[in-house]
Amino acid sequence: MEKNDRRSFLRRSFLGLAATVTAGRLVYAGGKTEHAFPVDKNDTPSLITRRLGKTDMVVPVVSMGVMRADNPALVRAALDKGIRLLDTAHTYQGGRNEEMLGKILKDVPRNSYYLATKVKPDGYDKTKGDFTDDEKVKRTFREKFEISMKRLGIGYVDILFLHAINSRAATLNRAVQEVMQEIKEEGRTRYLGVSTHSHEPEVIRAAVDSGVYDVVLVAYNYRQDHKDEILKALEEAHKAGIGVIVMKTMAGGRPPKSGPALSMGTALKWSLQSEYVATSIPGFTSFDQLEEDIAVARDLTFTEEEKQLIAQAMRGDTLYCDACDECIDQCPHELPIPDLMRAYMYTYGYRETRKARELLDHLGVTPGACASCDECTVTCPKGFAVARKITDITRLREMPQAFLT
């Protein structure tokens, strides 16, 4: 890992900004208005950078997933803070995302940023997990790519991804690889990649075996059940010289079914701990989020609080039932155990006893539900003491309504 201040980074990398860089201020002539971005009060940002596989791209560990952003000022601010790689796709916002970037980038020196876009051809047969019509694959990939390039208004992209692939067969599809390689030979893209957010190890290994892809873009976060397997595959990619970019570091931003939710910054740090990962593409849409991500790009070390949160998240929390339904067939009285665990979580996790009581009333489970069993026959994969929790929570049905919160 290299730690650069911004000026050193600009001097050393193959990128060289035009003479418009003066005293740390980057002036873009955007349409009718010139934007002069302010420099941070603490001088220029120092971002941690890593090389993207065998490519010539050295990038900060945080890049920008543009997919939801529709504010040009945010993209410009990201570039001004030192972010260098912008990631979009043919389908994002129905094409408006690429168009927006095209409008911004026409006034930005081409050698001051990297751009990645993604295309997926028609003709994918989900039952076979592969593309099945070579002619359609090549034609539609090319058509969509040309539309993307027109929207972006640039002569080439730095990375062209095969978009959202989830099988080895599709990754190795000959027709896809042929059309992608043609585009690369034409100089319209500098590198080729494949993106995936399911069956990641399979796709990563296929990319390694293909000898065609220079970069992989994969979903990788602390909540994935198979994150260890993904990491192994990332190691293989790294050793093969394939650059690794990670996404979905917050697992879509939704709260987990079990365990505490990490902050965006902590979750992002977690995904960047491995040296096999070159950069990430969080999809920030506000300046606050940009600042949080830039802070991560400056310092990947965890605070003590973050370490505890991560340990808790890895362990899972005894309040949150995974609703795996393993228990349902084990109870001789066919109690609705997952729902009862949910009522337990409402009470002890969220302190919403009224909500728990409504659920219990709806379920109609009485306080003595477990009394007739000498011993509980349910074995919970998470180790929940099911009978104890049911006995505890069903007592809520006897509590006067006035005491409920």
Binding site: G31, K32, N71, A89, G95, H163, M247, R254
Partner: protein
């Protein structure tokens, strides 16, 4: 229990998709929710989730031995306002528009439209059906089958017509101008005297909420809030977004971005205020709980 759930989902799915003469309907896709929308549309899902996506039903229209000709995707959002939001985020003023549902736009081989809380995509899978009137007929049939109003959000009526780029109006659910507190904003693009700029507006039933929003904007942009923040116009110098010309009156806050020419701004502002004061905004969604 699983069987019951599957049956009820199928029944619900069937009612969403109308029969279409000569075709039978295939339901090979599950119903997608917030948890698994990424599996279907990958990173594009985040934008849909931001617009309060509820579920997605997908069906294919086929002939003979399941030779598929059309694919229909029905994205349901929390209410018509959020459905308009996602629709407008993917709409471009350059598209070819059709009157289907509330509105639709078409490109070769596909037609996307808005109706009520639904954003619908009808796509020709079979090459021979691209650009055919049958695609339009199918889209129209789906639209007629769906419930919901066929009018745009009433706030759009506040935007003056002079210089407005048609079909450029948008509803931004969150993070407008890159600020997390700036949500539920309507915008429209304008071109006047060779200048292209954005007019944005916020309407709240409670003027105190508008004041709170303006205060937060001041605090963020200028570091402090003026004492006794008055209604009226002002200029804020935003280090990221440039100069913002902002006007507050009662339940309405509106502003201009990417333009400094007051000779252009003032007539538009006057026109908008006139519409506001004369009550040209009619609430067309009675009972919708999600109005700002």
């Amino acid at each position: 229990m699983l069987l019951t759930i599957n049956i009820s989902l199928t029944a619900q799915t069937d009612t969403l998709f109308p029969p279409f003469d000569g075709y039978h309907i295939l339901h090979e896709y599950p119903v997608y929710h917030g948890e698994n929308l990424w599996d279907y549309i990958d990173g594009a899902a985040d934008n849909y989730l931001n617009y309060h996506f509820q579920d997605l039903h997908v069906a294919e229209y086929a002939k003979g031995k399941d030779r598929i000709f059309y694919k229909v995707e029905i994205y349901r959002h929390e209410d018509p306002l959020y459905a308009f939001g996602i629709y407008s985020s993917e709409r471009s003023p350059e598209y070819r528009f059709v009157k289907i549902g509330t509105q639709g736009f078409e490109e070769t081989g596909q037609l996307f439209f808005l109706k009520g809380s639904h954003y619908v995509k009808v796509m020709a899978v079979n090459e021979s059906r691209r650009g055919e009137t049958e695609l339009v007929a199918l889209a129209r049939s789906v639209a007629e089958h769906l419930p919901g109003p066929t009018a745009f959000p009433s706030e759009l009526r506040l935007f003056p017509d002079e210089g407005k780029v048609p079909n450029s109006e948008r509803f931004i659910a969150s993070d407008f101008l890159g600020y997390s507190f700036f949500e539920k904003v309507f915008t429209a693009l304008y071109r006047i005297n060779g200048k292209e700029f954005t007019l944005f507006l916020v309407y709240r039933e409670d003027p105190a909420k508008v004041k709170a929003l303006l205060s937060e904007l001041y605090r963020t942009v200028e570091g402090e809030v003026p004492k006794n923040l008055p209604e009226g116009d002002r200029i804020l110098n935003d280090k990221y977004n440039g100069r913002l010309f902002i006007i507050w009156e009662g339940k309405l806050l509106f502003g201009f971005r990417d333009i400094d020419d007051e000779a252009v701004i003032r007539p538009l502002a006057a026109a908008l205020l006139f519409r506001y004061r004369t009550g040209e905004r009619d609430d067309l969604y009675p009972g919708t709980s999600q109005r700002p």
